[in-house]
Every structure is written in C-alpha cells, then in structure tokens.
C-alpha cells in the first residue's frame, strides 16, 4: 500500500491560471449577433416557461440583435437581478435551452445562456443605471442570509422603497455564488461585482458575520422589523453514515469549494494525488473538476445510482469527464479505510435497481485507494438556527411555506434552498426572493 500523497503546488502557476480561467469564455460581438439572429422569436416561447424567473428570452435576444443592449439587460435583470450569475451557472440544458424549439429542428439550441451573459456583461461594463429606488415607505425588513434569495428579495424590496437590513453569517454577501460554486465558472470576482450592483439601489444595509441563533434571534427580528425573510440556505452537510468520526483526509466538498474560491494563491492549496468524491450533484462535479484542475492525478466521482439519476445534468457530467474526472456509477460507500488515522481508500458495494425500482446491493464490492475523500451527498438545515425562538412549521426537513412564501409564523417569509419551491438552483432562489418580496410588500402595505 502506498503512503498518503497530499501536497501543494502540483501544477505551475501558469497551468493553474489556465485551468482556473473562464471555462466558458464570453461571446464576441460578432458571434453574439449571429447567435441572436438564430432565435426564431417564438410566440409564447417555451424558453420563458422553462425559466424559473420567466425572463422574456426572445425579447432580450431580439434586442441584442438590434444593438439595444441596455434594453436587453433591463429585460433580463428586471426579472432576475442575478441574471449575470445565472448566465454563468444555470444548467440551461435542462431549462431554457433544453426546450428551445431549435432542438427539435437541428438539435442545436440557441445559446441563450451565453447571450444572457453577453447582454449582462455589457451592462456591467457600461456603467449605466437601470433601476431607481421608489419613494421611501418607512417600512423595515430584515433578511437573514445574504445569498441569491436574500439579495434578490432585498433588491426588490428596496426598489419598492423599503429599508432593508441583511444579516449574513459569513464575511461576504452572495452565499453560494461566493462560496459554493466552482471558481472557473465565475471569474474576476463577478459574485462581488454583482453584490455591488445590487447594493447600489440604496436602502440596503448589510451586517455580515451575524449568525442566526448565535448573534441574532428570530424572535427579536420579528419584533423589531415589519417583516422578516429567511433565506438561510442549508448550513449542514449530510453525513455518509459510516461511523461517528471520519478519519483525516475526509472533507465536506462545500468547505473545500469555499476554500478554493477564497484562496489567494491556488498553488498553496494542498491537493491529494488520488481523490474520491462521493455524490451526484453539482457540488460533487465542482469539487471533482477542481481537484483535477489543481493537479490531482486520479479523480473518481462515485455515485450510487445511474447517470440519469444524478442531479448533475448530462452536460455537467460530460464536462467533468472532459476534464479527466472518472465517473463511476452504481457504487455505494460501505466503509472508509484508514492508515495511521488518515484515510487510505473507500470500500464500495455494487448496486442495482430492483424490478420494483428500489436500490439494492449485488453482493459485489470495489475498493478505491484515496488520499482525499470528499463528501458531496447533499446539505440540510442546521438545527441551531431557531434557538430560543418560535420555530416555523417544517416540511421534509425544510421550512414550510405557502405559494406566497409565507411561513406558519406571522410576519415571517422564507425562500431559497431552505424551502422546497423548485430545483435547488441559484435561479430558483432568485425567483423565490423576488416573489417573497412582492408578497411582503403587498402584506405590509395593507396594514
């Protein structure tokens, strides 16, 4: 058995810079023109229906085609204030582009995501102003969690003239956009530029390093503010369930993703030679690909079901494979092997689907050597957040809300990953925030 091999600087600075550059470079003006002309301007277009934020896609594309980029950006950002980030991270292949009628005709959808990025990039470079704050209403709203849902809600409420205080547990706003997404998806500090743009509307105060249940209490917020919006995401990481204590070298993928994003110099990050990632979602893909990009020799992404069951889309799986990640399906982790307290490999049981659709074991097993193991099997709500406060009704481990994003508690709304509204996507969180803001506005302006 080989000894543990974890070290920094597996790749040169140039190689790292290349690996962590924009993995999907923006369209040139000429290409954007050609691509925008491909849009048929469908009536009642399927892409609009497929977009959780219902951006009028044919219209914004037409405006790119005519050179009306300000109008295009406004169409996008009015519906989705994080249209810039969503253009980078949305799994468009299962949303707008997945239903583009061009798929039926030639299996090549209009590159909606890239066009959206083109228009929003133009806007961010232009220095233009799109939104003006409404007359002050004198109402104050607390938003707990400054991720996509919280920022979206804050912007819409500020636009309507309300005063907002965002309480954010981390040091920076933007949530998973800042801490939970692979670095090559959002280069040049875009998440923070987007935050600046959102805060520019005015009337939003951000209090960072404020953890709910530790520094602030929900009951106090509900007393002090006219409304409270909870957009705290999912703070805990699901465990593999293979014993109480993981050996050294076993990490939560979300933590390492955050470390990579916040790293000042990538060549100082310690990287394992052999990496095993357990999970099947975007987090698993992001950590697997980034491990490879940091210089890991062998990266295995292991999932207990088939390709079609993964929450990472076919396109993300293909992308990971193209980056050199080996994806293994139908393997369920059985035990973590260790040497001298450090992980040395993972034992897997082979799985299959029974005729009744249930997962079962075949009786065979596989072993993979590993220097580092990443857990990426999902996140869940932290149980400390409602400390000493009245707790809203929960549903399947998340905060229960109605169609207007109201919780069971008076004056408390919630949205984003901590509720079940749609897929756990940035774009869905933005939509939740926007809808909750409209709902809050309606309610507090009545009385």
């Amino acid at each position: 058995m080989t000894s543990t091999d974890i070290r920094a600087g597996r790749l040169s600075q140039d190689e790292l810079a290349e690996n962590f550059s924009d993995h999907h470079p923006p369209l040139s003006p000429a290409y954007a023109k050609v691509e925008s002309d491909r849009c048929y301007f469908c009536y009642d277009a399927p892409c609009i229906e497929a977009c959780p934020t219902a951006i009028d896609i044919p219209n914004f594309i037409r405006k790119i085609s005519t050179g009306n980029l300000k109008g295009s950006a406004k169409d996008i950002l009015t519906q989705n204030i994080m249209g810039g980030m969503c253009a980078r991270v949305c799994p468009t292949e299962i949303l707008c582009e997945g239903v583009c009628v061009r798929n039926t005709q030639e299996e090549k959808p209009v590159r909606i995501g890239d066009l959206q990025r083109y228009a929003t990039d133009w806007f961010f470079e232009s220095g233009e102003t799109l939104f003006e704050r409404g007359e002050p209403t004198g109402k104050r709203i607390a938003i707990v969690g400054g991720g996509p849902a919280g920022l979206s809600c804050a912007h819409r409420l500020a636009l309507l003239g309300h005063e907002i205080v965002i309480f954010e547990a981390r040091e920076k706003l933007s949530g998973l956009n800042e801490y939970g997404i692979a670095a090559y998806k959002t280069v040049n500090n875009f998440a923070q530029r987007e935050v600046e743009f959102i805060m520019d509307i005015g009337g939003i105060e951000a209090r960072t390093n404020h953890v709910l249940g530790r520094d602030i209490k929900l009951d106090d917020l509900r007393n002090e503010f006219d409304a409270v919006f909870l957009s705290i995401g999912l703070g805990d990481v699901n465990e593999l369930g293979l014993g109480d204590n993981d050996p050294e070298g076993v990490f939560n993928a979300v933590d390492t993703i955050a470390d990579i994003r916040q790293a000042k110099s990538l060549e100082k990050l310690a990287v394992g030679r052999r990496v095993v990632v357990i999970g099947g979602g975007n987090t698993a893909i992001d950590i697997a690909v980034q491990s490879k990009k940091l210089g890991s020799e062998d990266v295995y992404l292991v999932y207990r079901r088939g390709s079609q069951h993964m929450s990472a889309t076919w396109k993300e799986q293909e992308f990971a494979k193209s980056c050199g990640v080996n994806i293994k399906y139908w393997l369920s982790p059985k035990s973590l092997n260790s040497e001298n307290g450090h992980v040395s490999g993972v034992e897997f049981e082979c799985t299959k689907l029974n005729s009744d659709g249930k997962l079962s074991f075949t009786g065979e097993s596989r072993f993979m050597e590993a220097d580092i193991v990443f857990k990426a099997i999902g996140q869940s709500m932290q149980d400390t957040i409602f400390l000493d406060s009245e707790t809203p009704e929960m549903k399947k481990g998340k905060i229960a809300v109605n169609n207007a994003f109201e919780t069971s508690l008076e004056g408390l709304w919630s949205g984003g990953d901590c509720v079940k509204s749609g897929e756990d996507l940035t774009v869905q969180a933005v939509e939740d925030g926007k809808q909750a803001a409209n709902s809050i506005h309606q309610k507090i302006m009545q009385g």
Binding site: V34, D37, C42, Y43, D44, A45, P46, V101, Q105
Partner: protein
C-alpha cells in the same frame, strides 16, 4: 445533355450566364479568369470618352438581413476609370483568345451624335460581339446628363439608339433603368429606335442605411453620402416584374431580353428565362462569392433541363409569360387551406401569432398531451400563405387545394363587381 447555348439579339454564347457590366468585367485579368471559370459572356465595364472619370473612396453600402450578408448591395461607383485605349486593347485581346464567348461592350458617352459615332468606330475594331448602351446608371453620370438621365426619357432612348444603329452594324442592347413608373415606355422607345434587344434592370435608386452618429447616408464619404444604385437578391422580384412586363407587351414581346437583377443561381436565371429572357447577366453574386458560382449555374440549369426533357433554352423560354394575368382574371373559386405537418412542427408558435396578429385569426393554440399544439381553423383560413412563410421549418406548413377544381369565376363577372360583364 441539354444544349445551353444562347443567342440574345444576335449575340451568341455557349451558355446564358454572362457577367454584367461592373467591376468583375473591368479588365482583361478579371474577364480571363471569368471565362476560365465557365462564364458564357461578359458585358465589359462601361466605357466613356477620355479623360477617364474618377471615383470616390467608400463605394458600397449593404443590407444584411438576419445573419445573411449582402441581401442587397448599393454602389456609387461610376463607369470605367481607365483610359479608353487600355480597355480597347484588352477587349480585342480577350475576344481573340476566347472567340466562342460573348464579349459585349457597355458604352456611355454624352448625349450627342458625334461622341457616339466616335466611340462606336473605336469599338468595332475590337472584334466584340455587340454593344450595350448604358441608360441605367442612376448616380453620378446621370447628373451629367448620361445614364439614367437618358433612360428616364423615352424620346432620348429612341434617339440615341437610332444614332447607334445608323453608325454601326453591331448588335445593340439598350440597358434600361428601373427608376421609372412604367418600364414599357422605355422598352418601346428602344424598340422604335431599332435596338436589337434590351437588358434590364440597372440598379435601383437607393439609400441603404444611415449612420446615426454621423447623420449621413452610407456609404459615407467624408461625412457626406449620395444615393446609389441598389442590386443583389433584394431587387430580383422587381427585375422579374419588369422583364415580364416587356415580354407581355404586344409592342415588345419579340424584343430579345438580357435579364439582370439579383440573379444568384441557376434557379433565379431559369425564372427569368421562362419569363422571356434569352440570357441573363450576373453581378452581385459574383462579387460576393467569386466567379466559381457559374459552375452550379451551368450544372443546375442543365440538370433541370434534362429532368424536364428540354433540349434547348428555346424549348422553355417565355413559357410562363402566358400565365401572368391581370388580377381580374384570377379564379375566385380557387381555394387553398393551410396544413400543418404535426410530425415536423417544432412548436415555435410563429404560425399562430402571424395569423393572429397579422392575418385572419385562423390558427388555434391549444395544449396537447401537455405540449403546445397548433391547428388550422379551416372556416377562418383564407389561404393567404402567411403562416407557411413565417414557419421556420421548410415544408412543415403547406397549402392544400380544397375547392372542387371544376368551377371558375373571375372578378369581371362577379356579382360584387359594379362593372361586371353581363354573362347572359
């Protein structure tokens, strides 16, 4: 294989594809390459009296549409900017080297008999096959009393044509300007003056675009612009109409026509031939894609003729003219309805919205098995074809004839027509 040879106004060529008088035909170097590529003839870039004209820099403007480059092209170039003798020498040489190809010389001189006689004498010495009188150029030269300034006055057309025919035995084509209200007057005047044929259309008066920063038309020459002559695929429908008008006019129905205007492929060319043209001239397509396009033109026309059983161009020349009627003679009993092929429909909804907002509200938008679904409401469909054209999928929407096919009534006898002819 089909015989593509043509004879337009006594000018013979191995095929009907000629290059029109323009930059591609302005010198030996170009024309030689064109002949090598297979072009049946050229009309040499218009000659004038020395000293040569001068041109401006920035000469073309273009209309691009929906990703398609140069749907239309406009220019403000003038006639040849080379000395007359240089051109004459090269024309003589090319004709000697390529005796089977048609070499026609385009001419434009001031409107007096002396100048025309002078230049014709010069031309005859080249051994060229004919002359084309440029009465069409709509910019620059027209300000000097030439080009379309002549073509817009039938009396001038007749007069100059007569001078030419009196001075030379060379076959004479008169090139007409489309910038008139009725092309037939111009064609009749050419015919009366003794022209052996007409060629049309020359370019259309146009401003293709305006620079919204400079506040000046494009192409912009140092902050100013001028109208230019429009050509390319965009003008083909107008050219086809004008050719047809001349072919239908009893006074000119036998007048040979060399058709020009947006011809880009064999199919375009064939449409002009079935509307009466003896041959065609091409310019913009060659300027866009190069001389090689003639290969498909020759090949495509020959294959089509073989398929249809036509042996020579005369077998189908003018075959469609008889079917061009005045509106009042169209059968009002004829009825077509849109049919959507659901198996190729991509559910873009453009048929629906174009009919809903732009036509007769004859398409229904429904949901079928959770998906978008479009169907024609026969009672409302007037058979306008709009949905068929809006649909981005070729042949997804077609028009089906639904009347009995046995009834005929036109406007002249229709009860709603106050001027109807009494049938009894």
């Amino acid at each position: 294989m089909a015989d593509l040879s043509c004879n337009v106004a006594g000018i013979k060529a191995p095929n009907p594809f000629w290059l029109a008088s323009a930059p591609p035909t302005d010198k030996l170097y170009n024309v030689e390459r064109a002949f090598r590529a297979g072009w049946g003839g050229v009309v040499w870039k218009t000659l004038g009296i020395d000293p040569p004209i001068v041109n401006v820099s920035s000469r073309y403007g273009a209309v691009h549409y929906n990703g398609h480059r140069m749907m239309g092209l406009n220019n403000l170039e003038l006639i040849t900017d080379r000395p007359l003798e240089d051109n004459l020498k090269e024309i003589k040489q090319i004709k000697k080297e390529w005796p089977d190809r048609a070499v026609v010389v385009s001419l434009m001189v001031p409107c007096n008999e002396k100048d025309w006689k002078f230049i014709l004498k010069k031309i005859e010495d080249t051994g060229c096959d004919g002359v084309e009188l440029n009465f069409g150029c709509p910019h620059g030269m027209s300000e000097r009393g030439m080009g379309s300034a002549v073509g817009q006055v039938p009396e001038y057309i007749e007069m100059v044509t007569r001078w030419v025919k009196e001075s030379s035995d060379l076959p004479c084509l008169v090139k007409l300007t489309p910038n008139v209200t009725d092309i037939c007057h111009a064609a009749r005047a050419a015919n009366a003056g003794g022209a052996d044929g007409v060629s049309l259309i020359n370019t259309v008066n146009s401003i293709v675009s305006v620079d919204l920063d400079l506040m000046a038309p494009e192409p912009t020459v140092d902050g100013k612009g001028s109208h230019g002559g429009y050509c390319g695929p965009a003008v083909k429908p107008m050219a086809l109409f004008m050719v047809t008008e001349i072919a239908k006019d009893p006074e000119t129905s036998n007048l040979p026509i060399s058709a020009i205007g947006g011809i880009s492929n064999w199919r375009d060319a064939t449409e002009f031939i079935v509307m009466g043209a003896g041959g065609v001239q091409v310019c913009t397509a060659a300027m866009h894609y190069g001389f090689k396009i003639v290969d498909d033109m020759i090949d495509g026309l020959a294959n089509w003729m073989d398929e249809k059983g036509y042996k020579t161009l005369d077998d189908f020349r003018g075959a469609a003219v008889q079917n061009v009627k005045q509106w009042q003679y169209l059968n009002l009993k004829y009825d077509v309805k849109a049919r959507i092929d659901q198996s190729t429909c991509i559910n873009c909804g453009l048929c629906y919205i174009s009919c809903e907002d732009g036509s007769h509200q004859a398409i229904r938008e429904t949901k079928l098995n959770g998906g978008r679904h479009y169907e024609v409401i026969d009672d409302e469909c007037v058979g306008c074809n709009l949905c068929m054209f809006a649909c981005p999928v070729p042949e997804c929407i077609s028009m089906e004839r639904v009347d009995s096919g046995t009834e005929y009534q036109n406007w002249t006898t229709h009860p709603n027509n106050p001027m109807r002819v009494d049938q009894s």
